[in-house]
Amino acid sequence: MPVLADIYTQPVQLADFYVSNITDRKFTAALVKHLNITAPLGSFQHLKRVRGDKSKGHRDFVMIPRDHDDSVRESEQINIMMTSLLKSSDIPSTTLSKPYLVKVPICCPATRAQYEESSFYWPVTFHEDKRIAQMLSGTFFSKEEIQRIKNYLLEAESLGKKAAEKGQKHYGIVVVDPDTNTIIAKGHDMCRGSNPLHHAVMVGLDLVARSQGGGMWCLEEKSNVCELTSCESSNGQMASEKSGPYLCTGYDIFLNMEPCPMCSMALVHSRVNRVFYSTPHVDGGLGSKYKVHMQAGLNHHFDVFRWTGEVLSDIRAHH
C-alpha cells in the first residue's frame, strides 16, 4: 500500500459559492467570457463555470466565493454585487437570477475517488495521474515484484531478529539495487551498543557509503555484538573500485519498521529511490507522525510503500 501525501487521501473540502441561474441560455458564452474578467475563479480554476441541469431544464452559473468574514450578504448587497459583475457588458441583468449559495470543492481532485465525490457538489475538471491511480488500485506492482518485495522485507525482519538476539532493537535494513536485483548492504539496529545513533537505517546507509569507499563509523569494532554485511566489501569487489552511484541514488530500502524522523531524513539526504516497510510506528517519519518523503520544501522526494499483506514481522506495532 502506498504512503501518499495527504492531498491524495483527504476527504473533499468544501467552500460556499454564489451561484445564479441563467435565464436566457443564448448569453451563456458571453457570461463565461465576461465573468472570467470581472469575477475570475482564482484558486478555484478546477470548477466548471456552468452546470447544466437537464431535469430542471436550466443552467447554473458559478460566480464568486462567499465572503467568510461576515454572514450571508444582505439582498441589497447581492444586487450591488450582481450589477458590478455585469458592468460594462451588453448582457442584460435579467439574464442571471437572484444568486443563492452552494457548496463547491476547494481543491482540484487528485484521485478518481475525490473526483467522484467533488462532482456530487459541482462539476470539476480532473486530470488523472496514471501512476498514482495505479498505486491506489493495487495494480502498481506485478505478482513477481510483490514476491520480491516480500522476500526483502522478510530478510530485513530476520536481520531484526538477529539484532534482538544480541540485545539490540528488533530493526533490520536491506539496501537493494533494483536494476540488478542485488543486495548492496544488510544491517540492523545497534543503538544499545556504544552509539545511540546506530539505528538500523543509519547503520545501513554507512555500510552503503563503505561499499563506495567511504563510511564514517568503525562498525567492525562491534562485530562481536552485531552481524553486519556490506555485501561488496565482504566479497571485495566494489570496495576497491570506489564506484557506485551518487550516495543511494536508485537504491531501494527495505525495513521491518517504519523509520524514526532522524532516519527518515537520513534517507532523504541519501537520495534513495523507494522505501518499503512492514510495521508502522506512532512516531515514524514516513507516514505515521510525518511524511518526510513528501514534505514540501525538501529537495528530494521518494515513494514509500507499507506492506499490508500477511504479517511479516514479530515486532508489535507501536501505536
Partner: protein
C-alpha cells in the same frame, strides 16, 4: 549573549574548515561545563555518507571524549550545549533529541532542511519515543553563517551529478538572508 557569540565564533572556524575541504560550510562545537569538548564540520563528500553532518561528527567525538575520561556519556549528553552555525536539519534535530541534548544555539535558519521550525519542528514536537524536546536560541552570528554558505554555493558541490544540480541555490540564500 556575549557568551553565545564567543562560542559561536569558535564554531564558525569549523564551518570555514569545512568550506576549505569542499564541504557544505557548517561547523559546531559541544560545550560541557563551560568547556569545549567536541567539534565537528560537515564531511559528507569525504565519507560518501550524506548523513555525515557536523553535528553527527561532533556527537561521535563527545563519545570519544567520554570514553577517554571514563565518563557516563548519557550524563554528559544531557548537560551539553550545542553551538552550530546553521539550524540543525530534520535528521540532526532527531539525533540531538535521541541523545538528550537540552539546548541548541544556532546561527542562520535552514529553509531547505531545518528541523527546528523551518521545515519541521523536531525540536519541540510531541515525539515520546525520540527523547526529550530541546530549547533553541537562534540568530547568533547568522550573517556570518549565511556568507559562508553563499561562498560555497557560488562554486558548486563537485560531487553532485550534473542533472541534480540546482541553479536556484543562490536565490534561496538571498531570500534567507532577507529573512534574518
Amino acid at each position: 549573549m556575549e557568551e553565545h557569540i564567543n562560542w559561536m565564533s569558535k564554531a564558525m572556524v569549523y564551518a570555514e574548515e569545512a568550506l576549505e575541504r569542499g564541504e557544505v560550510p557548517v561547523g559546531c562545537i559541544f560545550v560541557y561545563e563551560d568547556q569545549e569538548i567536541a567539534t565537528g564540520g560537515n564531511r559528507v563528500n569525504e565519507t560518501k555518507n550524506a548523513t555525515c553532518h557536523a553535528e553527527i561528527v561532533a556527537i561521535e567525538k563527545v563519545r570519544e571524549w567520554c570514553s577517554l575520561r571514563k565518563k557516563d556519556q548519557q550524563d554528559v549528553f544531557r548537560a551539553l550545549t550545542l553551538y552550530v552555525t546553521v539550524e540543525p536539519c530534520v535528521m540532526c534535530a532527531g539525533a540531538l533529541r535521541q541523545i538528550g541534548v537540552p539546548l541548541v544555539v544556532y546561527g542562520c535558519s535552514n529553509e531547505r532542511f531545518g528541523g527546528c521550525g523551518s521545515v519541521l519542528n523536531i525540536a519541540a514536537d510531541q515525539l515520546s519515543s525520540l527523547g526529550p524536546s530541546f530549547d533553541v536560541i537562534k540568530g547568533v552570528l547568522a550573517e556570518e553563517a549565511v556568507q559562508l554558505l553563499k561562498q560555497f554555493y557560488k562554486g558548486e558541490n563537485p560531487n553532485v551529478p550534473e542533472d541534480k544540480r540546482k541553479p536556484k541555490q543562490i536565490s534561496i540564500l538571498n531570500k534567507q538572508e532577507t529573512r534574518l
